[in-house]
Amino acid sequence: MSGVRVLVGTRKGAFILTADGTRQRWDVSGPHFAGWEIYHLKGSPADPSRLYASQTSGWFGQVIQRSNDAGKTWESVDNKFAYDGVPGTHQWYDGTQHPWEFKRVWHLEPSLTDPDTVFAGVEDAALFRSADGGHTWQELPALRGAKGHLWQPGAGGMCLHTILLDPSHPDRIFVAISAAGAFRSDDAGRTWRPVNCGLKAPSELPDRNAEVGHCVHRIAMHPSRPDVLFMQKHWDVMRSDNAGDSWQEVSGNLPSDFGFPIDVHAHEPETIYVVPIKSDSEHYPPEGKLRVYRSRTGGCEWEALTKGLPQRDCYVNVLRDAMAVDSLDSCGVYFGTTGGQVYASADAGDSWAPIVRDLPAVLSVEVQTLT
């Protein structure tokens, strides 16, 4: 019997939502780690019972939790994220240099093949890796050598929020940082280079051809075509057909090309989803209408998906890590809002319903398809 497990991180704890393959009735467990911010939790593709969670607090700092039984029980593992060597400085909001300081883990990305190997994207931006199930963490420091002194924080901090592991090239890793841009390693993290050619930010960067400094909000990839990347940038929805070497804008007819999440249909690599947000200073949907936009052509041509979503007086946001898909047939699409709703569509976005509606503000949504 197939099923779905939805892992939801919120401002005040984690919640685990489960359903069978029909996706009609949902059980909600939680809050796990009540009162703590759960920036992200994610399961291992190699062992779906192995979960990792980033638990954080303005008072007590960072904790990493691990479960070996799909979230029934948890154990805290190592929380020491020490930068390699002297961390140096990056650019501050006012253009001066500012010391690198660890604040929290934004994103955990388990290896595609080994449940004990997991990557952590942190603020201030850096990439860490554990090969022992989270018991120790080591930085991959060459990333910060990719012009790290020119990286700068976005409004949410200088966070490494996206980690994509290429299933066809085991040594290839993509990461994205706000506000630094996208970066690629082809040697398992030993060396890195910015992959931001084609990104434009005339209002934010004085150099029109800046190699770094871009506020990338999210990147998505379909595992069958890992050279094709889709990006939701601060403004602009972008596409690359050459593993990030160059990007083209595919915002097309979107009502706003500002937004945070972007994701790809599980079975249709040219079908992508975004949630347009009015602007960088008004983080809510245009016209108070919560609309997911779907392109079946890999961008440029978009259709509004509204059935089951509030179409008046809606002023929530959908954060960058708060959208995911399942791989059932037909593809399920899920997203969480800062108003505490998690919406799901069991028909690839044609219709939506809230599967839980009164959680704390949702920070992240991940989905495990169980067979």
Binding site: W59, G61, Q62, S76, N79
Partner: protein, 98 residues
């Protein structure tokens, strides 16, 4: 034995119901008490003081005997009533909403 009272979130993290009793070798100071606490409950490392600098986290404070000891030297002796177990050493989350 030195008695330590932790805030609720740290008690939950350490799977504790009540206060902690610690045997501290040598002079009882903030540093030696926290060293002993973290040795017994390693999951608390990094939550009260920074892993690297060992400085108190900014939103954590230390109270004992109706005094704020947060800005005392970590190597200063703790008050006698704390050393004898008459009064607890309080680890407190700053009053900052949330």
């Amino acid at each position: 034995m030195i008695r330590v009272v932790l805030p609720q979130h740290l008690r939950t993290l350490a799977h504790l119901d009540g206060e902690v009793e610690l045997a501290v070798e040598g002079q009882a100071t903030q540093r030696s008490v926290l060293d002993a606490l973290e040795a017994c409950y390693p999951m608390l490392r990094g939550t009260i003081r920074d892993h690297v600098t060992q400085r108190r986290r900014p939103f954590v404070r230390f109270f004992a005997c109706a005094q704020d000891l947060s800005h005392e030297s970590p190597d200063a002796p703790l008050p006698d009533p704390v050393v004898t177990g008459g009064e607890p050493f309080l680890v407190v989350g700053a009053m900052a909403g949330g």
